[in-house]
């Protein structure tokens, strides 16, 4: 079990909304709601290629939505979620900022911002750990080299 950034949609739901999207597509342009539902599921997929696809749909939706339209907040929020899952943290934070500009003090957006920053930091620490491990290894090799030289 997980939180907003780590929960996964189950396969059958993803297929259901994909099916609806494709059915509408056969008869022309899928509606914004259908596209949004599908994209919302895609960004919660285990597969990063799906997440990327979901982000792309949401970008298209947000582009054609003016600020006055209240659906914009939904797109911005899930764009932040999707990008964070792709570890595109800077982009994720940018979308959260846009949402907070529309709705200053929105607690749900602030919580997501915190979660994204936390995830970013923990990734950074992991990165540091790997780099640090490399340094240790290099140090050990140097040490080994020294001891060999001494012999």
């Amino acid at each position: 079990m997980a939180d907003t950034l780590t929960d996964f949609v189950s396969e059958d739901y993803l297929q259901e909304f994909e099916g609806k999207y494709n059915a509408e597509k056969q008869n022309g342009v899928p509606s914004d709601d259908t596209t949004f539902h599908y994209a919302w599921c895609l960004v919660r997929s285990k597969l990063l290629t799906d997440v990327r696809k979901g982000v792309m749909f949401l970008e298209q939706l947000v582009k054609k939505t003016s600020v006055e339209q209240h659906h914009k907040r939904d797109y911005l929020y899930y764009l932040a979620v999707g990008n964070a899952r792709l570890k595109e943290y800077a982009t994720a934070l940018k979308y959260i900022k846009s949402l907070l500009q529309l709705e200053p003090g929105n607690r749900q957006a602030q919580e997501l911002e915190k979660a994204i920053k936390k995830s970013m930091e923990s990734d950074a620490i992991k990165g540091v750990a790997i780099a640090g491990g490399g340094v240790l290894l290099a140090g050990a090799l140097v040490g080994l080299g020294m001891s060999l030289l001494k012999k």
Partner: protein
């Protein structure tokens, strides 16, 4: 990855459902932060909250999914129901329409969760008794007929909020203890974590001769 100690022994998943504006997010906030949000914007999609509680001496982490009640979101919010161990269905005692929609929320909850899921009905905004549009007796009767637990609560004053969340957890814990809830089932909505002081498993509890129904905290 980390095999470190956990400060809780179970995770229970909850969902909060009901019409828009009945106070779902305020109830969650009151429960997790012990504060009332006077004007909060409508929830975007689904929001997540968490709190660690104690039931019968066991620390339990509640993972709570608060859904937006809008029709526009409903198709997708359904995908969050699966694997919920507890479902809180909320209506607003000052708005009859939110009460009239209960059967549709209940149908969703029944169809999309498992038979062991504890369903708790909450009539919110009990502080607004003067504007009441649904009587306690009527809702109680509906709850009894459908086998639901029921309280009237107020996210504003905090009345019965703690009780509803804890009572739900206690019921879930009881069905773990009496064996009716299978922890290994994929969608039980319950996860067991090893505790800091070693694996104090349920079977060990039972072996100690504890009567499952004696849980009286």
């Amino acid at each position: 990855m980390s095999g470190g100690p956990y400060n809780y022994s179970y995770i229970f998943k909850y969902i909060i459902i009901g019409d828009m504006g009945v106070g779902k997010s305020c109830l969650l906030h009151q429960f997790t932060e012990k504060k009332f949000m006077a004007d909060c914007p409508h929830t975007i999609g689904v929001e997540f909250g968490t709190r660690i509680i104690e039931v019968c001496g066991q620390k339990i982490k509640l993972q709570i999914w608060d859904t937006a009640g809008q029709e526009r979101f409903r198709a997708v919010t359904r995908s969050y129901y699966r694997g919920a161990a507890g479902a809180l269905i909320i209506y607003d005692i000052t708005r009859r329409s939110t009460y009239n929609h209960l059967s549709s929320w209940l149908t969703d909850a029944r169809n999309l969760t498992n038979p062991n899921t504890v369903i708790f009905l909450i009539g919110n905004k009990s502080d607004l008794d003067g504007q009441r549009d649904v009587t306690y007796e009527e809702a109680k009767k509906f709850a009894d007929e459908n086998g639901l637990k029921f309280v009237e609560a107020s996210a504003k004053t905090g009345e019965n909020v703690e009780e509803a969340f804890l009572e739900t957890a206690k019921k879930i814990y009881e069905s773990i203890q009496d064996g009716s809830l299978d922890l290994n089932a994929a969608e039980s909505g319950v996860q067991k974590k090893p505790t800091a002081n070693g694996a104090r498993s349920l079977s060990a509890d039972n072996a100690e001769g504890r009567n499952p129904s004696s849980c009286s905290c």
